[in-house]
Symmetry: C2
Subunit: 560 residues, 2 copies
């Protein structure tokens, strides 16, 4: 590997990409089964996916992390590194990631998929329009919005209570001005004025559905199941009642096909779907994961935020609903982030501090314990930073060993797959041992409020859930309406086990305030909201957009 001195984008641009046909070939996908988008991106055709269904599944490995801090953990980077590491040691592995959202790229510098020598490419495409999936979701979502207002405009035969239209609009853009708007102003020809608003596309229930759908039929059914409004008698109005599900499915037919790209080491990567990790489940698509499992012996995937949110949702929502049985989990930790959990300020992270590290390890310890509750054997990946000291790493390893697990130093950021061979070997061992006995945290039959209580108690370690009677009644109503079997999807700060982002480490003696519940009847979960959830971000004072441009060579500057 020739080393490039520079940023992630410099490394990515120096990479020798293979044609997507060649990458596909490695996992048995022939050229005719690809829908190509230029030389380095392709979608995999449904015909091929149908064809491989009878094959046995490979091992599913989840990469999750400790509670995130501003120090950075490197979950995506580790996912890429582990995938490359497995391929390096001779295993057939595919990684599955989420697609990045376009909007935020114009706010803060960033985007990217992975970093250093553990990246997915072509990086610019991934962060811009990619294969158009998010645009298709935006179109499908807003078609439904237009059909609702149009229905009301032409006489409101369905008797929609215009004050209770819950379906908003979406744009893949950070635009705070659209959070709350009044529509249909300007006279009779424009309809009935109404309070409305826009979310960012990744927050759309259509996104969650695209990522949970098993096939096109399932996609259409779930779209039809979405509740878009209520009548005066509080009975729900479904997407299906507007006859929007068919046209939305047509708009999404290509978007449902998994996207194939490659890592810097030319290993196959599916990058498909990207639902929010708070009001949705934060995992890449079931279509991609299930397809990858048919093509590889190891499928490495990640889930959003820390393990309290990401892993729990991955297990309780995605795996349960898609019938997936993970074989192992990797918890990514960094010395830096654990020191922050131990009370060190960001500016002091460069100084060795074993005591703070040891103090912060309780955060990792709790996540470890949590993941094991799902019956999945777990290993800790120490994503190495150059300023980590031997004493700190030793202390961290010791702590993890005392918890009955193992922590392995990974240097994929600087060395690519060379830096993750040991982790890859360990993952193979865990899978081969066959000790996994995956089970969700709670049974389907448990009451909705009790499901929330179970997560709060078992995962967050809260003493209880505080909720108004109104919220409890709402959950009861949904149970009576036939939604009691749904899993719950918790929307909570990712920075703490509590709802206070400043409480790092492993807090105890707190209760979980449940402020609001929402029903995502199409996606198939009940969202429990604990705290402010922002579904339409804003732009910073100096947005990255101001410096993004094409240079003389036609290369993009300022995006990363």
């Amino acid at each position: 590997m020739v080393k490039v001195v520079g940023s992630d984008i410099d490394v990515a641009r120096a990479a020798k990409l293979q044609s997507i046909e060649k990458v596909a070939e490695k996992v048995g996908i022939s050229e005719s089964q690809l829908l190509r988008f230029g030389p380095h991106k392709a979608k995999v055709r449904f015909e091929f996916i149908d064809e491989v269904q009878s094959r046995p599944d490979g091992h599913l490995v989840l990469v999750t992390a400790i509670s995130p801090t501003p120090a950075g953990e490197g979950k995506t980077t580790t996912t890429v590194g582990l995938g490359d590491g497995l391929n390096r040691i001779g295993e057939k592995a595919i990684i599955c990631l989420r697609e990045p959202s376009l909007g935020p790229c114009f706010g803060m510098k960033g985007g990217a998929a992975g970093g250093g020598y553990a990246q997915v490419v072509p990086m610019e495409d991934l962060n811009l329009h990619f294969t158009g999936d998010f645009h298709a979701i935006t179109s499908a979502h807003n078609l439904l919005s237009a059909l609702i207002d149009n229905h009301i405009y032409w006489g409101n035969e369905l008797d929609i209570d215009t004050r209770r239209v819950t379906w908003r609009r979406v744009l893949d853009m950070n635009d705070r001005a659209l959070r709350e708007v009044v529509t249909s102003l300007g006279g009779a020809a424009n309809g009935f004025p109404a309070l409305a608003g826009f979310d960012i596309t990744v927050a759309s229930e259509v996104m969650a559905i695209l990522c949970l759908a098993k096939d096109r039929k399932d996609l259409e059914k779930r779209l039809g199941d979405m509740i878009v409004a209520y009548r005066r008698d509080r009975s729900p109005v479904y997407c299906r009642d507007l006859k929007a599900d068919g046209a939305m499915t047509v708009l999404l037919k290509d978007a449902l096909m998994p996207n194939l790209v490659q890592t810097l080491e030319n290993n196959p990567a599916f990058v498909h779907g990207g639902p929010f990790a708070n009001i949705a489940h934060g995992c890449n698509s079931v279509m991609a994961t299930r397809t990858a499992l048919k093509l590889a012996d190891y499928v490495v995937t990640e889930a959003g935020f820390g393990a309290d949110l990401g892993a729990e949702k991955f297990f309780d929502i995605k795996c349960r609903k898609a019938g997936l049985t993970p074989s192992a989990a990797v918890i990514v930790a960094t010395v830096r982030a654990l020191k922050m959990n131990g009370g060190v300020k960001k500016e002091d992270l460069g100084t060795e501090n074993v005591a703070a590290l040891e103090k912060g390890c309780v955060n990792l310890g709790r996540h470890l314990e949590n993941v094991r509750k799902f019956g999945v054997p777990t290993v800790v990946a120490i994503n190495h930073f150059s300023k980590d000291t031997p004493a700190e790493i030793e202390a961290l390893k010791r702590y993890v060993a005392a918890q009955g697990s193992e922590a392995i130093v990974c240097k994929h950021w600087q060395d690519g797959s060379e830096g993750t061979q040991e982790l890859a070997q360990k993952v193979v061992e865990l899978c081969a041992a066959g000790s996994a006995a995956f089970k969700p945290l709670y049974p389907e039959g448990l009451g909705l409020f009790e499901k929330i209580e179970t997560i709060a108690r078992e995962i967050y370690r809260a003493e209880g859930v505080v909720a108004d009677q109104k919220i409890r009644d709402q959950l009861k109503q949904w149970e009576q309406a036939g939604y009691g079997h749904l899993p719950v999807c918790m929307a909570k700060t990712q920075y703490s086990f509590t709802t206070d982002p400043n409480k790092r480490g492993a807090p105890t003696g707190f209760s979980l305030p449940l402020r609001e519940v929402r029903l995502s009847a199409g996606a198939g979960f009940v969202v429990g909201i604990c705290g402010e959830i922002m579904t339409m971000p804003g732009l910073p004072r100096v947005p990255a957009a101001e410096t993004i441009r094409l240079n003389e060579k036609g290369d993009i500057e300022g995006l990363f």
Copy 2:
């Protein structure tokens, strides 16, 4: 050719498509110069376009039409038919069309590109997301919107008068509820409440710019030139002041590359860009037309609406600005539409009526005269319908001959290129004769109001232009601000030479009321608005979306 009984979509589905590589090869584009989107769509790389710039241009042929009526004229169909006809008689021809807009597809059944045996395929892709150009335009447009509000939110350093933000938002959706909205409600964190609104994407100035830009540099410059708001002192705030032009160019970098597809007869077709034909110039992109001219001996293209709007803008805006010199023009007429111009009702069109036809011919006659004013030799294509009678066709031919031109019956809808051989032959003759001496209608140096008067007098045949002093003053101000050299872009009903859509034929004795003027400083024209212009359509009582779906085979139903 095997004949299929059924709708346009049945014909399109029965077609034997060639791989886009093979289609490209016919005009000398090698595989490596294509950015493929699946097997039947591709963009042509900038490197190749730069490379062919030194080649001589082929002949540019415009297909325009009489004033449209509900009877249908078939301008796109004739464009496709003529392209195929030229290829059939051994000439190397490429057609250039506009991309259809997504939003309207979910309103009325339709869309499509051409009809019968004169179509561009793949039809479904063309009418859905195609290569994502319109989504890119939507993103770029709305990024600028977000940046404007964000700038005001963070302190409004540019001193924008928040009541005078002229830049709206866009969606490629028919959604009347978004025509007029109030944004930034909900408190300080969401910004300052403001009256705003959405247009359909094709109405975006970004669309007009994409279609007029000569290259990426020119695109960026024009984007920067756009006026988005005014200060209290009425000085303009440019897109460039928001530093949005670079990021918008990045979002549009692929969208600027022309899209290559094929006709049912496997001849190459560029389908690229689709600006409104009222507030914009209604032609496909300059990038596509100029590239096609380097690759073929004949480039057949069309312009929106009838010749009074479409051809005038094509000549005075697109050709003037891009330095194009058309060799010939085809005016499409139908016996049905001329009978409607002669006073026949739609339900009576099936009955022979030579008198009405002769009466309606004045509409064609005036368009013929008009097109010749641009120094372009012209032929009339009679787009044949099965109920046209020999007597009617004879009368029409006689009329055109009396005007010093020739009318040729075309049967491309039912026979493909077999039905346009005579027209193709005639077009070759006109081009070979070299009698074209293209000149715009008015010189750049003429005053803006005088340009509008010239069009009104010479093309519409109005006795004069009626406009408030305020409008005249506005035009004077723009002249003083350095915009006096711009061409004007008239927004007027397409159904009549007057502003009254019911006045068919060739009315005289009317004046043109100019209601409003707008400056599209980036696109590079001044819009003169005469009558209501709808920039955000609504959906009908029973939208086509209700019946659009995927069938068991995965084919789309209800879209056409």
